[in-house]
């Protein structure tokens, strides 16, 4: 079958009424959490993972994917209307989008964001469809050393793209790796770090870890400083772009899409980096850069396209290699595993309907998002007025109920509390939680592949350097760390990420 045939298969799965329904629920929830304060896609997907257990694999993954890219749309709405990015990747959109809204051009800014995102989403999905099969084929030849090198690369690049102290990010990764080792050893069955508690033999429940660190810790953080938020724009009109504006956004959208597609594949916060990179590129290329920061439509079009393209292409490493590029993708790995499927290069051959169905659903989801976001914008504006103090109790409850419902195991619930406290303390001390979760998910894989590689080489670590692919990957990993610690780049990173805090 060629790509058309595969996409046809995909659409036949994605257009199944049940799957359309779950795709719709996914993007709706995604937009909702993107719009609502204090809850992001990571916590949402973690909370909803248990619920998807009872769905078919296709419906479950289509819905969870929808939450992720839907949140990118919703995040831009809050960024434009109230100058509060719902998602970190929309931080740049807030700069010019909010200024446009202040000048009465909120409708234009929202339409630009939605149209740019739709274009970028379409291109990103196509790229995924074209590049995933050859990459998956290449990955089938990967042995343990290559996988080990790939995981190391993924972990190290993710810190190069994180903000804040690199040493702290490294330490968080290692702590995550260690936490991932709790439970029975894969080869010998020896229970490790279990304090003799039987419930820990199968390892820490990663839904508990994710919900604790990204949900509960975030709530505790927000309770430190409670304040309401002002919604300046009560109604949005004039959603149609004029010919003039349309012309102005075409080039930024295409450039943003290209940048985002490339950066999205990188591990770590690819989509965040993409939107920042696109913004500075547009500013540099603009004929009147002085307009930037005062409502330049290009400053909305470029970054919004970039972060949406990146959201789409960040599925490539997950779908082809089984390696998550960032925490949300790590949760998707968990979703695959809950459904009894090991994500990786085999999925495309063993479960073609599932693989292509997810890809096709992304395009449908993007279409649904445009329809949801533009005509229904009034509804989302109303949502913005829901106060945080009414929301967080629901988050706490959903977290507890969701975790408990996976295995009816109360230990999983206590673990939420533990990781909530741990996450809160570490965040207060300036440590980013994302690398910890990434390390936690990849820890067991890293250990398995390392041990297997060392058995193959009879204990000679040179195996990683003698095989060309693993040597290249490890070289890239080293390069990523070196670049991140170079003084000039460090200053740049500070500038780039300063807006986020």
């Amino acid at each position: 079958m060629d790509i058309i045939g595969f996409l046809g298969l995909g659409f036949s799965v994605a257009l199944d009424p049940i799957n359309i329904l779950y795709c719709f629920i996914g993007v709706l929830l995604g937009t909702l959490v993107g719009v609502l304060p204090g809850i992001g896609p990571t916590a949402t997907i973690a909370m909803l993972l248990p619920i998807t257990f009872s769905l078919s694999p296709a419906a479950a993954l289509i819905m969870l994917a929808g939450i992720y890219y839907g949140a990118q749309y919703g995040g831009s709405t809050t960024a434009i209307l109230i100058n509060l990015p719902g998602e970190s990747s929309s931080a740049v959109t807030a700069i010019d989008g909010y200024q446009m809204a202040k000048n009465g051009r909120a409708g234009h800014a929202l339409a630009t964001a939605a149209l740019g995102s739709f274009f970028a989403g379409t291109v990103g999905t196509l790229l995924l469809a074209f590049f995933a099969p050859p990459l998956a084929r290449a990955a089938l030849n990967f042995g343990a050393p290559e996988y080990f090198a790939l995981i190391v690369l993924g972990l190290l690049v993710s810190i190069a793209l994180a903000h804040g102290s690199i040493l702290k990010a490294l330490a968080m990764i290692v702590l995550g790796l260690l936490l991932g080792m709790v439970g029975q050893d894969i080869y010998t069955g020896t229970p490790r770090f279990t304090f003799g508690i039987r419930e820990l033999y199968s390892g820490l429940n990663f839904v508990s870890v994710a919900v604790g660190i990204f949900g509960v810790a975030e709530i505790l953080r927000n309770l430190e400083n409670e304040k309401g938020r002002d919604v300046m724009v009560k109604s949005v009109s004039n959603l149609w772009l004029g010919k003039e504006e349309f012309k102005r956004i075409i080039a930024p959208v295409i450039r943003g899409t290209a940048l985002g597609s490339v950066l999205g594949i990188l591990p770590g916060g690819g989509h965040i980096l993409a939107s920042f990179a696109s913004y500075s590129a547009e500013k540099r290329l603009s004929k009147n850069p002085a307009e930037f920061g005062h409502g330049a439509i290009e400053g909305v079009a470029g970054p919004e396209s970039a972060n949406n393209a990146a959201a789409q292409t960040s599925f490539i490493p997950l779908m082809t290699l089984g390696i998550p590029a960032h925490p949300v993708m790590a949760l998707m790995v968990g979703a695959f595993i809950l459904q009894g499927i090991t994500p990786g290069p085999n999925v495309i051959n063993d479960q073609p309907a599932l693989f292509w169905g997810i890809i096709a659903s992304m395009w449908i989801g993007n279409l649904l998002l445009v329809m949801l976001n533009l005509p229904l914008i009034g509804l989302w504006v109303k949502m913005l007025t829901i106060p945080y103090r009414a929301l967080f109790p629901a988050i706490v409850l959903f977290a507890c109920i969701g975790c408990y419902s996976i295995n009816q195991n109360i230990f999983d619930v206590f673990a939420i509390g533990f990781f909530g406290i741990v996450g809160y303390v570490l965040i207060r001390l300036g440590c980013e939680p994302a690398p910890l979760l990434l390390g936690f998910v990849l820890g067991p894989l890293l250990e398995e592949h390392l041990r297997r590689a060392m058995i193959i080489s009879r204990g000679d670590p040179m195996i990683f350097l003698e095989r060309p692919i693993s040597a290249t990957l490890l070289g890239l990993a080293l390069l990523a760390v070196l670049i991140a610690v170079l003084p000039s780049i460090r200053r740049k990173r500070k500038e780039v990420f300063v807006e986020e805090d």
């Binding site: 040493l167 330490a171 490790r192 109790p393 009816q408 109360i410 509390g417 406290i421 001390l429 060392m454």
Partner: protein, 153 residues
Amino acid sequence: MLAKFSLRDLLAGGIFVLAGAYFALEALNYEVGTPFRMGPGFMPLLLGAVLAALGIGVAGTGWQKPDREKPLPPSWRGIVLIIGVVIFFGATIRGLGFVPVVFVAAFASAMASRLNSPLFAALLAVGLTVLCTAIFVIGLGMTVPWFGPWLGQ
């Protein structure tokens, strides 16, 4: 001497050193093995040592860089109530059943915010109890009693 350190870095580093030391020392109780045939203790020992070293590094970077801004004080009320709710949920869900546990948990967590009055918290708790029961117990068929054995059911 201490005043010259960033307290945040010092504390973060300390946590990493302690965690690394725990994992490394505990790993010694398991078979470490050789690089050729790694035992269950090999990776944790290695990574624990790395974590402890990174922790020292993190504390060291805070040298001569005392924290300038004072962090916001933690909301003790929030911490106690939210973590308390999570523990309460785990401890009583089997005994009390879904409806009472969700109601109490929703009320208590809503009270974690200083901006919520008891009346608002109670109303919110009623709403969330109805919503959660509808979604999880009726909609998703979660196997949990509405009212548990402790309540004589």
